[in-house]
């Protein structure tokens, strides 16, 4: 059945995407994962923009940059986005060394991973929506 298929899809996506988030979803909070994902999605987009801005400003404020990245890293870890989190760690190292070049390069990586993640999340959210519509 279409509904089942969608639900299964959602479930498997969830499993692969989120470490333990799905554990938290239950009857009292049937949309928990979805809510969290949405929150993260919006929040991370904002953070990425902040970082971008900070990177583009001259002179670069490494302190601020580090703060943003720290936030972003924390946020990413919440939904178990390991790849993004790892890139963040690399970025922060460059940041600590005040290596602008390294930061910019590293940030590209971060953005890339984040973009991949975003797409996955979008698909997930979409599937969830579809599943709920057919439910």
């Amino acid at each position: 059945m279409d509904r089942n298929r969608l639900h299964n899809q959602v479930a498997s996506m969830r499993r692969s995407l989120f470490d333990q988030l799905e554990e938290l979803q239950d009857d009292t909070n049937p949309n928990f994962v979805q809510e969290v994902v949405t929150l993260f999605y919006n929040d991370s987009t904002r953070l990425i923009q902040n970082i971008e801005q900070a990177l583009n400003s001259r002179p670069i404020d490494f302190c601020k940059l580090d703060d943003y990245m720290h936030q972003f890293k924390g946020s990413s870890s919440s939904i178990g986005a390991k790849k993004v989190t790892n890139e963040c760690t690399a970025f922060r190292e460059y940041c600590n060394a005040e290596n602008a070049e390294g930061c910019i390069r590293s940030f590209q990586q971060v953005k890339q991973e984040h973009a991949i993640l975003k797409r996955k999340l979008e698909v997930y959210l979409q599937t969830v929506r579809q599943a709920s519509q057919t439910a």
Partner: protein
């Protein structure tokens, strides 16, 4: 399964740890949501907020409304460590720090500031499941401390403790009971003096400086060997004071003195070490605090000291280092709840039972080994970035003046080296100072202390002088403020929290030590101490307030004296 958020006021014996009231503070909305959900799954009662200030407000509004606080380290409005300190100081609740950053230095900082745990993000639910242990541990230690006796019947505590658990007055009735039992066994105290266990809330005696002075005077008059609570009470001539109050205080005092004794032995061994590390002037007094550390911690009923102690340990211990610690451990320490220092010592001596913070101990231990020199070298103090503030862990009473003279004046011109950063730095300093103080003051005793040891007395005076000096000539900016704030707070707490229990007094001492300790880092460099002798706690208490107004604290809660007392009462009553 989701438990109702409300309605945990009626205790169910089998409920604990269910219904644990957790306050979660994190600026990341995603995490806030996840944590809330996880905690609810653990059957805890969760309150979330995304601002540190908001959290503090919530905590202050309902003093007994929460059992534990979980906070992120990085927050926009206030540094997590600072929040941690405030919570420890004002509410004495266990605080767990979280961060995506798991660097050892950060974790250590957390522990030093008094965090009872440090979780790394992403946090797993199973990590949250057991956070109740910190609450439980704290209560156990509090009771132990209050009883000031060995052998804690935890079962007794937990059984009846559940009832009190929720209203946060668990200490009141229960510890009386268990305390009484123990006291029966060990005490020469008159049993009937012990308060009726049925009185749920024992009013705590506030052992103010004056009161303690009277006490000490009485003790000296009678002759330390011949003292007895009754005699002391008669001499003191304080109508509202009960024999039991005096008895408990006496017990603490005795412990304190005995520890002092032992510490003096250790001191000698350290002096050598210390000299090598410190600039000449610092060497001498350093042991004072160390000693004090050992002694005082025992009495610290609440956890506030804990982080100080740990800080100090890290700091001071350096001097104390290895040998010292061993010596110190010998002190008969009743569960020094708050005294991390003792714990740390104990740990060296494999007395792990007294360690309140296992993690901290671990880190402290390592800190001890490598922090030693850092702490004593003012400019290199790793934790502080405040230029003038030389974190002197070793409270050297003799050199207090030195410290103060270099204190920058607190004031709007606070060292805003890096806004929060400096504050943050100060905080650890304060903690460390505190611990130092405590240690230092240990022997000296908070309020004017124990004339029995003239040396310590002079120390105290110095300390007080320092404090007043600090207050009057604050040059430290943030640091000063923070000190004041903390000192004030400590002082207030001290005054207000005097409990007629041995521990309470010592904790007071410790608190005062804090005050003084807080000034220490500042003192370190001071050359000319220009304070008048400290003979009035009010002196210290008052000054900071207006300073606070002036200073740009990011801490909005200025320590209003009345509030302090209210707070104190709430904390310790």
């Amino acid at each position: 399964m989701v438990l109702a958020e409300s309605g945990f006021s009626s205790p169910r014996n089998d409920a604990f740890p269910a219904g644990l009231r957790v306050l979660v503070v994190d600026d990341d909305p995603t995490w806030l949501k996840i944590l809330e959900k996880m905690l609810k799954k653990c059957s805890y009662e969760v309150t979330t907020c995304c601002l540190a200030r908001e959290a503090l407000n919530l905590l202050r509004e309902r003093k007994d409304g929460y059992d534990i606080v979980i906070s992120d380290v990085n927050m926009p409005d206030m540094d997590g460590f600072k929040l941690l300190e405030h919570v420890g100081l004002e509410m004495d609740l266990p605080v767990i720090m979280m961060s995506v950053d798991g660097e050892t230095s950060r974790v250590m900082k957390g522990v030093q500031h008094g965090a009872c745990d440090y979780l790394l993000k992403p946090i797993r639910m199973k990590e949250l499941r057991n956070i109740w242990q910190h609450v439980f541990r704290k209560k156990i230690h509090e009771v132990r401390d209050i009883e000031s006796l060995e052998g804690f019947e935890s079962i007794q505590m937990t059984r009846s403790g559940y009832d009190l658990f929720d209203d946060g007055h668990f200490l009141s009735g229960d510890d009386t009971t268990s305390g009484r039992k123990r006291k029966d066994a060990d005490n020469k105290h008159d049993d009937r003096e012990l308060s009726d266990p049925s009185s749920t809330k024992k009013a705590r005696v506030v052992w103010t400086v004056d009161l303690h002075q009277k006490f000490v005077k009485a003790v000296n008059q009678i002759g330390f060997d011949k003292v007895g609570p009754k005699k002391i009470l008669d001499l003191m001539n304080v109508p509202w004071l009960t024999r039991e109050n005096v008895a408990s205080h006496l017990q603490k005092y005795r412990l304190y003195l005995s520890r002092l004794q032992k510490e003096s032995d250790i001191k000698n061994s350290f002096i050598g070490m210390k000299h090598s590390d410190l600039p000449s002037k610092d060497s001498t007094a350093s042991f004072g605090p160390h000693k004090a550390m050992n002694m005082i911690p025992d009495d610290v009923p609440n956890g506030t000291y804990s982080f100080s102690a740990s800080n100090s340990l890290a700091q001071n211990v350096d001097l104390k280092g290895q040998g010292d610690l061993k010596g110190i451990t010998s002190a008969p320490v009743a569960e020094p709840k708050g005294a991390l220092s003792i714990d740390i010592h104990d740990s060296h001596e494999a007395k792990s039972t007294q360690m309140s913070f296992d993690h901290s101990l671990g880190s402290v231990d390592s800190a001890v080994s490598f922090a030693s020199f850092n702490s004593t070298t003012p400019l290199q103090y790793p934790w502080t970035e405040i230029p003038e503030i030389q974190f002197k862990q070793e409270c050297e009473p003799l050199h207090l003046e030195n410290g103060f003279s270099q204190l920058p004046l607190p004031g709007p011109s606070m060292i805003e080296n890096e806004a929060n950063r400096s504050r943050i730095e100060v905080k650890p300093l304060l903690d460390e100072c505190r611990s130092n103080f405590v240690e230092h003051l240990g022997p000296v005793g908070a309020e004017d202390l124990f004339p029995i040891q003239s040396k310590s007395q002079s120390l105290n005076n110095q300390v007080f002088d320092l404090i007043s000096a600090t207050k009057s000539s604050m040059k430290t900016q943030d640091v000063g403020l923070n000190y004041l704030a903390d000192s004030e707070f400590a002082l207030r707490n001290l005054n207000a929290s005097g409990v007629g229990v041995p521990l309470a007094t010592l904790s007071e001492d410790l608190q005062i030590c804090w005050l003084q300790g807080d000034c220490y880092p500042m003192n370190y460099g001071l050359q000319d101490l220009e304070c008048s002798t400290y003979d009035n706690p009010g002196l210290m208490a008052e000054t900071p307030f207006h300073l606070y107004d002036v200073l740009r604290f990011d801490h909005e809660h200025l320590f209003d004296p009345t509030e302090y007392y209210a707070i104190d009462q709430g904390l310790f009553a």
